[in-house]
């Protein structure tokens, strides 16, 4: 029982990481019907920026929000420079462009920072605290807390502010929103900025666990895909719930299913993706959408 609780708690921690990246994916999907294959690499780059700031002596709790702001700006820049010229292109073209972007950013990170894995500082100690007889590390609890705060902030922004309202309007009903004076193109850019910032949180939270290097997000994004697909790719709430479910499931599977072990946890994510797409393609919270011809 103890072990189970421990696995659940650390599963929730990794789940928070998956949830953040999945939320970023969903934000962009809602805005453009596009899965941004570069989301992980964008997060990785942001994490490197945070690393650089911290190395120069900036306090972690200042570097974190500062990086989010930079990531936000970066997301907007990418949308304006790379995506907007081809806004009206077929979906497949856009997907390939995001793949190109992912490759480019990966190479850029490798060129600037090198491929040697580095340790990334965490403000939370790895010491454990006793919860109901199980041991949970401060770090895991910290990750859960930070992820939770960020996800809540995004929720409040989208649901309770005018800006969030116009973003949602632009995402779902571009033409009708224009007729209401909404600057749809800028809302799209804002969506990318927000997604980039949320993704950055994911990267910064995971770096202390798996070591910082250019390829670190390649597996995380698969988990995020699983989370987004499980939750329903149109639903921000679904992405968050999906993230936590995937986190806990993968953790439990790794320990309790001997044939999975540590090295096939990623295959569990693949199984989730394939299973959901075949059995319930709209995910838990998604709604069946009409195929527009």
């Amino acid at each position: 029982m103890q072990e189970f609780l421990q696995l659940v708690v650390s599963g929730l921690a990794t789940g928070g990481i998956f949830a953040s990246l999945a939320l970023a994916l969903v934000l962009i999907y809602n805005a453009m019907g596009l899965v941004n294959f570069a989301q992980g690499e964008m997060a990785m780059l942001a994490t490197f920026i945070a690393f650089t700031l911290i190395n120069r002596g900036v306090n972690y709790w200042i570097a974190l929000p500062l990086t989010l702001v930079i990531a936000f700006g970066g997301g907007i820049a990418i949308q304006r420079i790379v995506i907007r010229p081809v806004e009206r292109a077929p979906l497949l073209t856009l997907v390939i462009i995001t793949l190109g972007l992912a490759t480019l950013l990966n190479g850029l990170a490798g060129a600037i920072f090198g491929y040697v894995p580095r340790s990334f500082p965490s403000p939370f100690s790895v010491q454990t605290v006793d919860i109901f007889g199980a041991y949970a590390s401060y770090r895991d609890l910290g990750v859960i807390a930070v992820s939770g705060v960020v996800l809540l902030a995004i929720y409040l922004l989208l649901q309770r502010t005018t800006v969030g309202l116009t973003m949602r309007a632009a995402a779902h009903h571009a033409e009708a929103s224009r007729l209401l004076g909404v600057r749809v193109s800028w809302m799209l850019a804002l969506g990318w900025g927000l997604a980039s910032a949320v993704g950055a949180v994911s990267g910064i939270m995971v770096a202390p666990i798996i070591l910082l290097e250019p390829n670190m997000m390649q597996t995380i994004i698969i988990y995020a895909f699983a989370a987004a697909v499980l939750g329903g790719i149109e639903s921000p709430l679904g992405a968050v719930i999906g993230g936590f479910i995937v986190g806990v499931t993968v953790n439990l599977a790794g320990t309790y299913l001997p044939f999975v072990g540590g090295d096939l946890q990623l295959a569990v994510a693949l199984a989730i993706i394939i299973g959901v797409l075949i059995l319930k393609p709209n995910g838990l919270l998604g709604r069946p959408s009409v195929r527009r011809v």
Binding site: L165, H173, R178, L179, L180
Partner: protein, 237 residues
């Protein structure tokens, strides 16, 4: 005195197909003008040209300012509210959120509150259902929502595309009553596209009749109503 809205020899189309072949019309401040004609005559395209939804040549001036090459969202911000075919309801959002999108650009907070009160007075159903998804509204209720939202934009001109389409006569009458009220009390000009010519002529002071992308007839509503020949050949009744 220049009219509020002036169209001068406007040609518009979709890709290689030309729909409007040189339309000129005007709407004065506070006036209600009907734009009539059969299906495919170009009425909807005319409205879309005004708010930048389709490419056009010629000139369109609002309040003296040319709308050439302006993006839709900027045209609208100049004071034109366009309720399109299909009403343009944002079905992913709630009724309240739809209304909020009508007023989100305004800075006059106190007046906005009063306008909301009026909206709920005109359309009580919107107040009852305001937290529900807009997709749960019936056709007539969605039309009410679209109209309320347009009113909240505090426009100087409203473009209404077939507000009576698909609605029961009682509902249509109620809606048209309110359009008239808004026009009279707030000096909001209206360019009304309608297939139901009788209804439109009853409300408007002037009418233009389109036929295959060209202006066939224009005159005061009284004239057109009174002319049997015109009524039968152009207006269908």
């Amino acid at each position: 005195m220049a009219a509020l809205l002036e169209l001068e020899d406007v040609r518009a189309g979709y890709g290689p197909t030309s729909v409007l072949h040189g339309i000129s019309l005007e709407v004065k401040d506070g006036e209600i003008v009907s734009l009539l004609g059969a299906n495919g005559a170009g009425k909807t395209t005319t409205l879309r040209a005004i708010t930048g939804g389709v490419r056009w040549t010629g000139d369109i001036r609002f309040n003296g300012k040319s709308l050439k090459r302006m993006h839709t969202e900027d045209v609208v911000r100049h004071g034109i509210a366009h309720v399109p075919e299909g009403r343009g309801i944002l079905t992913e959002l709630t009724v309240e959120e739809n209304l909020k999108l009508g007023s989100h650009l305004r800075r006059d907070g106190a007046q906005v509150g009063k306008d909301y009160d009026r909206v709920f007075e005109y359309f009580p159903v919107l107040k009852d259902r305001r937290r529900l998804s807009a997709s749960t509204l019936s056709g007539g209720e969605q039309q009410m929502l679209a109209l309320a939202r347009a009113f909240l934009m505090k426009p100087r001109l409203m473009l209404l595309d077939e507000p009576s389409l698909g609605l029961a006569p009682l509902v249509v009458r109620a809606i048209f009553e309110i359009i008239k009220t808004i026009n009279e009390s707030d000096q909001v000009a209206v360019l009304l596209v309608e297939q139901n010519a009788r209804l439109a002529l009853d409300m408007s002071s002037k009418a233009y009749v389109l036929e295959v992308g060209r202006l066939a007839i224009t005159g005061s509503s009284a004239e057109l109503k009174g002319n049997d020949a015109v009524r039968r050949s152009y207006l269908g009744y």
